[in-house]
């Protein structure tokens, strides 16, 4: 067993355990942190497979940006987690049973041996360029169309977020500086003409 293989098993084990922890720990903050660990260990396995660009992107984008945002949201929203998890323990045995049976079925059906297909040679190595360069080449030549469609999907996500979240709430007290600046004296001060003295109040009639 070579050192890279041992480290692969270590990273893979950490990835799996951290992913399990994401769905089992009680606190959402802990779950988010475990997800960070999952991503990071997955990035390590990718590095072992010479996919350094993907590994760095995973750390930069997911760990650096997305998960930090997640953490902020989770910390700001005071989610009462207990009612959400009420059915979890009750459904756990059945869920575990189904998952285990499915896994066993899949493994027997395919046979682990069948999965050991001859790995295709590293195309980057064959082309004599670095992994990053090869990825860029493939992305912008062979996979240009799906890449552009993926950009469209992101556009749709932005467009869709607007009607789903932009909310003009009724009755919210807020200031509109533009209107404050433009205000005219007439809008703020109303001069009312009235007699200087009020008439004396009528004595109240007692109710029967």
């Amino acid at each position: 067993m070579t050192f890279p293989l041992i480290s692969f098993y270590v990273f893979a084990a950490i990835t799996t355990l951290a992913a399990l922890a994401v769905i089992t720990v009680r606190s959402p903050v802990h779950a988010a942190l475990c997800l960070v660990l999952t991503f990071f260990s997955a990035a390590c396995t990718w590095l072992l497979a010479d996919a350094e660009f993907l590994a760095i992107v995973l750390v930069l984008v997911y760990v650096g940006a997305v998960m930090v945002l997640f953490l902020f949201v989770v910390m700001m929203l005071d989610v009462d987690i207990d009612p959400l998890r009420e059915g979890f323990i009750k459904a756990l045995p059945v869920g575990l049973l189904v998952a285990v049976v499915m896994l066993v079925e899949m493994l027997t059906l395919i046979g682990v041996r069948a999965l050991q297909l001859p790995a295709p040679g590293d195309p980057a190595l064959a082309a004599g360029m670095s992994n990053t360069q090869w990825l860029a080449m493939a992305l912008f030549s062979q996979y240009l169309l799906p890449f552009e469609i993926a950009a469209l999907i992101l556009t749709v996500a932005i467009v869709a977020a607007i009607p789903l979240t932009l909310r003009r709430r009724q009755g919210v007290r807020m200031q509109d500086p533009a209107r404050q600046v433009r205000v005219q004296p007439g809008e703020r001060l109303r001069i009312v003409k009235m007699v200087a003295e009020k008439p004396a109040p009528q004595p109240e009639t007692s109710s029967p």
Binding site: M106, I110, P123, P163
Partner: protein, 494 residues
Amino acid sequence: MNPTMIAFNSADLVTLAPEIFLLGATCAILLIDLFLKPGQRHITHVLALLALAGTAGLLWQDADAPRVYAFNGMFIRDGVAGLLKLFIVLTTALVFLYSRSYMRERKLLVGEFYLLLLFATLGMMLLVSAGSLVTVYVGLELLTLSSYALVALNRESTLSSEAAIKYFVLGALASGMLLYGMSMLYGATGTLDLARINALADLSAAAPHRTLLAFGLVFLVVGIGFKLGAAPFHMWLPDVYHGAPTSITLFISSGSKLAAVGMAYRLLEGALGTMHTDWTTMLSVLAVLSLAVGNVIAIAQTNLKRMLAYSTISHIGFLLLGFINGTAAGIAAAVFYMICYALMATAAFGVMMLLARAGFEAEEIDDFKGLNRRNPWYAGMMAITMFSLAGIPPLFGFFAKLMVLKVVIDAGHLWLAIVAIIFAIIGLFYYLRVVKVMYFDPPADEAALALPADLPFRWALSLNALALVVMGVAWSPLLDWCNQALAASVPLPP
């Protein structure tokens, strides 16, 4: 393969002309709509219709062109894609025409409604033209992501939000299944290209690859079943139909189903045509279950939208029957059936939107009581649609069913045809109940109906329903078109 060898070919842009035009028009509408006041939404409406008309014109131009690959086989333009895309564009245009007054009354006529539908249309067009597993997946995501947001468009309604969440979770599950199946196919063949998978998948003797391929196939069929709404993967359908605004239900039941058929064709016939015997059995189980679940549960529904949802499930069962033959004629019958169903669904939901007013959805069957006395013309249109859905001759729906049954019997699956006919007769009950309610029940309110003064809507709706009668006579050109398109595009398995 060395990617540096693949040069960008500008002729690919011509092949994608309809899609590129629609994308450009959608982006233009996105910008123009920003500068419009809420009262000026009719400009967006007209522009969106013009964009669709332009796309349809470009599609029509090369409808009969031979098969062309673009972007290194990522995109296929052929007869089937052209045919399906034309009808997808038509149904989206109908959604726009029908929904204007409905959405305005519910304060949902926002620019995003048009934009998301146009993006969804683009996704459907890319999906039915996909030549690679990656294109299938990204096209599908473009469609479904837009659909989730459209279902959730009415934020005030809890029913709508619930439907959107269910749709989203189950849609994500279905995408996961599809992706899992795709990764199996990739693992077994080492390529993402559909045609090359089909070429490499033919290794019946080599056992390990064979199992892996069959394993991937199961997941693909499950994913397709989810997207089509075939039983037992139909659970999301009634809730989404019920919860979504009717105009979105109209879209999901027509255009999006056409695209799902295109996807099923590309994946099953395009990529796994050589494994045809494996998927035939799975599809026949799905078909029989869908026919049974759809037709039997629809009887118990009192809500018309839910009833039509179960009716969709039963129609999907019929559609799958066309696929199990695996020949060009079989898939042509399935495509023909789906086009027919899309036209019937638009008519049925169109009448519901016509009767709906602010605060009144016209979605219960009881809301149609005595419609004949209040408005005989639209009661007639609804009756035509219901008869056609039930498959009563001489309407369009009958011939669509007939073609599928003919193909099934030709393939020697007589028992499937008998099951289909039995369930179609059971299905008669709930379609005819709507007709009975409209013609023989006293109306709750005798006053004549106040219909929206949206003349394009009313004209289009009447034409749509009357088309079901006309096509009942003149169905053969469309069937010939389907047959031609598929005969040219199906790589026939021996």
